[in-house]
């Protein structure tokens, strides 16, 4: 079943320190067989940001690999919540605890933290979890939309009607997140599930892309270069760098090539077992 999921997805990752920073504090990982993409944008002095984002990504990947070996992501619990949702929440919680503890115990890591966005594809669905201002966008046909809503001061200001989206583009508070992994003993991960359609392209990115390149340009790039995802990823990074590249830029692109419903019913399961 998992091989089928792997064959249904095309995954491309790219990360770049940008034009200004010497370090890359972003961490990314993708596992096509698991249907998993994780991106984290670390913060904190010296190399603490890299450490935080690195822990988050490593923790999520290994936790999920282990858990998914035993349980299918589509299995619903008593309340009807798919395991994918619980799994994202639990692994993000563990990553939070690990980063928080490292930050508490080692002075050079004090105050480190990271944003997180993770997508777990299962049974023609995707579970998307995020904390902070790393984003996930979806291109479906001609429609391009931002799926996650930032946990940031700016987003709260927009929501409360204090400033317009237009004003927000010029705001100086772009870099203030209201939620992050590893800052407090506990963190709440926002997780939602969506149905996917063949042909969908999902973009996970750090704010190094979304702050430097307007949504419209991201949309144009993805729809024009949708046949060549590696080039699209490279082009997005180039756009951010051409606009100044003030922060690390990371992108993960996932294209859904086809159906990957989990076979249900004994015959389908038997067929999958042999197939």
């Amino acid at each position: 079943m998992t091989t089928k999921l792997g064959a249904a997805l095309e995954v491309v990752t790219a990360t770049d320190p940008g034009m200004v920073r010497s370090h890359n504090e972003d961490s990314i990982a993708a596992d096509r067989e698991l249907g998993l993409a994780v991106l984290a944008d670390g913060m904190g002095g010296y190399n603490a940001g890299e450490v935080a984002s690195g822990i988050a990504v490593a923790m999520l990947t290994s936790e999920m690999r282990e858990a998914l070996a035993g349980t299918s992501a589509n299995e619903a619990d008593a309340s009807g919540t798919p395991f994918a949702v619980t799994l994202i929440r639990d692994s993000a919680g563990k990553a939070n605890a690990a980063i928080y503890q490292a930050a508490q115990s080692q002075p050079q890591y004090a105050g480190m933290g990271t944003t997180l966005v993770a997508a777990l594809f299962y049974d023609n669905h995707v579970a998307i979890g995020h904390i902070g201002d790393s984003r996930l966008y979806r291109l479906r046909g001609d429609g391009f939309e931002q799926v996650t809503r930032d946990h940031s001061l700016l987003q709260e200001q927009i929501d409360s009607g204090m400033i317009s989206k237009e004003q927000a583009r010029y705001s100086q508070n772009k870099n203030l997140v209201t939620r992050a992994v590893g800052i407090d003993p506990e963190v709440e991960t926002e997780v939602h599930t969506y149905e996917v359609e063949p042909g969908d392209i999902y973009l996970l990115c750090s704010d190094g892309l979304s702050d430097m390149v307007e949504d419209e340009d991201i949309h144009n790039t993805l729809s024009m270069l949708r046949t060549n995802l590696p080039l699209a990823a490279q082009q997005l990074i180039q756009l951010a760098n051409d606009n100044g590249g003030r922060d690390n830029i990371s992108v993960i692109l996932v294209r859904v090539l086809g159906d990957y419903a989990v076979p249900s019913g004994w015959f389908a399961r038997l067929k999958a077992w042999f197939g």
Binding site: L153, N173, N175, V177, T178, E214, D217, N220
Partner: protein, 242 residues
Amino acid sequence: MAKLIMSLDNAVIREVPLDKERVTIGRKAHNDIQVDNLAVSGEHAVIVTILNDSFLEDLGSTNGTLVNGNPVKKHILQTNDVIEIGKYKFKYVADQGAGKASVADFEKTMVLRGPVPRAAAAPGAGGFGDTQINTTTTVSSPSHPPASLGKQPEKMAAVQILTGPNAGKELELTKNLTTLGKPGVQVAVITRRPHGHFITHVEGANFPIVNGKPLDAQAHQLNDHDVIELAGVKMEFFLKNS
């Protein structure tokens, strides 16, 4: 750290680091910088330093405070400003290193902890907790307009089709990306970048040909009057004089 270079009649007397939030200047002994001269008031002026910004305030002195020859009450100090108090001159020198660092730092993602008080949104309203650093430094940092504003190359460019049924047609490259060719057969993209236009192969078994030479997977910079061949159609790239 910023500092003041104190001089009298062009002779440097001493350097004073602005190592605390308030550095007072005056005739009386309790001042941080004591200037023993009758033209100087007992409490003459104060320099308040917050992070990398220093503010000069005249404390209602009898003979006033000049900055670069102009009398001031309050003044945000810029590097190389010369403050005159009596016959004494103080040249303000900001810390160059710290200045650079602050520009880089202010872009860094930071966490805003706890519930966000709505009032805190106004800059300088306080209540930012850990992130105070951010609000104060951003005040003096230039806001950068995002993305493609004013970033286009100076010249507009276009592609004119030379062969095939659409020969003679002209396509202006008004967007950052323009795709050319036949989807499913051969497609290339022309990207508009600050330093010029570039062509890159997108899909298809054949790569685009520029001036008779096939490209590889790398982006190739286009020059005025380059001839591009794509899916059997020739076209010319040229710069427009706007």
